[in-house]
């Protein structure tokens, strides 16, 4: 049976929520921006009045102000956005239990099983849009298709407040003429590579022999080729099923540039503690640690390394991360952002038992970390911490575990 998949994208989500609560700003250019003092001073979202001035998401606030000097920049209020995100999901849940979030403002819905109750994909999409507009005063654009990739593409084609239907009959006309970087997971570097081989549109990609793509891009080549041809069969996950976590990571843009190994050490420990605490919370241990480093020229790289045995211990994760960092960074430039990620996860119950002293040490450390978790749960995050954190309280004044609640789950 042909699947009916919707992708709903809430237009200008943060800015729309802010404008609802501040009616006096609705007809003026408004953007939601990060904290300049903490150096998160970029545009996170903007309304259509601001869009007219050519303001784009991700640019620095000062750049945006040059384009529009009357721009009103509001600080983000994630609690409010989470609430509205949940309200929107409640609406989706009236139509299907198969709802998969992709960030706060985007969701896939598989309504294959409920079309006989509510009507076809377009009817449900229009109804959902109307309800979101009436109940939340936010407009949504919805794509309707037979797979997730085209549904997402559809939601990008017509904005705001519109439904786009992509069928097996019309996808070649609708999708294949779009530039290839519109496709999910064709980022900057893949786009550059594809352009080098003369692949400009999604249709070009679809008609390239898959062997070439595999040769140029590895397994991603095959995946993108299936995307472009509409062969994607990945399911929309169930709303009730706990999302299947493949990795747990945290990253931060430091309040000031990191200039020494000591600065990096503080940041890595803060991030590792958060990652380890979240591993324990979800009952995982990791086999691999990955770091992400971005210098103040905005060049970035990732490196990863295997651990000797699976762990959810912050000290082990931090030491591995620092080891990776020291081997791979030569301090050409100061560092702006860093991330630590735990991958290759196993469930805590599935780890190999051993009589070796390392294992016993690991168990003791695990008990210690759990005690710290418990203290933090009862008395707050900053009630207990490593001595290291006192070396520079500006850098360590960060609680990634509780401050950052948005984790768009990776597609793969």
């Amino acid at each position: 049976m042909e699947r009916v998949i919707l992708h709903s994208d809430l237009n200008n989500f943060y800015a729309s929520v802010e404008c609802l609560y501040k009616p006096e700003l609705r007809d003026r250019p408004v953007a939601v921006g990060g904290d300049v003092e903490a150096r998160h001073g970029i545009i996170l979202a903007k309304n259509y009045h601001a869009k007219k001035y050519g303001i784009i998401t991700g640019e620095a606030l000062w750049q945006a102000r040059q384009k529009c000097k009357d721009l009103i920049v509001l600080p983000p209020d994630y609690k409010k956005y989470l609430k509205f995100s949940k309200l929107a999901r409640d609406i989706y849940a009236d139509y299907t239990d198969r709802v998969e979030s992709f960030g706060l403002d985007e969701n896939w819905l598989d309504i294959t099983g409920s079309v006989h109750l509510f009507g076809d994909g377009k009817k449900v999409a229009d109804e959902i849009r109307e309800r979101i507009k009436f109940e939340l005063s936010i407009t949504a654009s919805v794509g309707v298709s037979f797979n997730k990739i085209f549904a997402k593409l559809g939601s990008d084609i017509k904005k705001p407040d519109a439904t786009t239907v992509i069928t097996r009959e019309n996808f070649k006309e609708v999708v294949w003429n779009l530039p290839v970087n519109e496709l999910l997971y064709v980022g900057r570097s893949t786009h550059k590579k594809l352009r080098g081989y003369g692949i400009k549109t999604i249709g070009d990609l679809a008609n390239t022999p898959v062997k070439y793509l595999e040769y140029w891009l590895g397994k991603w080549g095959y995946m993108l080729w299936t995307f472009a041809n509409g062969y994607d069969t990945s399911p929309v996950s169930n709303i009730a099923a706990k999302s299947f976590i493949k990795s747990i990571g945290n990253s931060t843009t430091a309040p000031r540039d990191l200039v020494s190994n000591d600065d990096v050490k503080i940041t890595v420990y803060v991030l590792s503690e958060s990652v380890a605490a979240r591993l324990r919370l979800n009952g995982f241990k990791c086999n691999t640690v990955q770091i992400y480093v971005r210098d103040n020229g905005l060049e970035s790289f990732e490196r990863q390394g295997e651990l000797e045995m699976p762990t959810s211990n912050s000290d082990v994760i931090a030491k591995k991360a620092l080891d990776l960092f020291e081997k791979n960074y030569n301090w050409d430039k100061p560092i702006r952002s860093m991330g630590v990620r735990a991958c290759n996860l196993v469930l805590t119950g599935d780890t190999q038992m051993s009589f070796l002293p390392e294992y016993i040490k690991e168990q003791k450390e695990d008990a210690l970390e759990r005690a710290v978790d418990d203290i933090r749960r009862r008395f707050g995050h900053y009630s207990i911490g490593r001595g290291l954190m006192l070396c520079d309280s500006r850098l360590s004044n960060l609680n990634p575990k509780d401050d950052h609640v948005i984790f768009p789950i990776s597609y793969l």
Binding site: L87, F134, E135, L136
Partner: protein
């Protein structure tokens, strides 16, 4: 554009968990009885700025919207 006026509400909570507002106190301490509730739905208030459960109420022969958002009640004031 209208103001968002938070009001204190006297309401009935029935055994099913339904909430029925009976009257509310305006800013100047006047109490207005709600004669009838004609509709209850989830809605956003574009005029006052907010979103929640909207009670369409008849008060002194006029129709007003009374909103419940995060346990706070508000009406669209002039």
């Amino acid at each position: 554009m209208s103001r968002k006026v938070f009001v204190s509400v006297f309401a009935n909570f029935d055994t099913e968990g339904r909430i029925t507002p009976l009257s509310f106190k305006w800013e100047d301490d006047r109490i207005f009885e709600i004669d009838k509730i004609t509709n209850v739905c989830k809605a956003a208030s574009l005029k006052a700025g907010g979103a929640g459960i909207r009670y369409t109420c008849m008060v002194c022969g006029k129709q007003i919207y009374l909103f419940l958002e995060d346990n706070k009640w508000f009406v669209e004031g002039k």
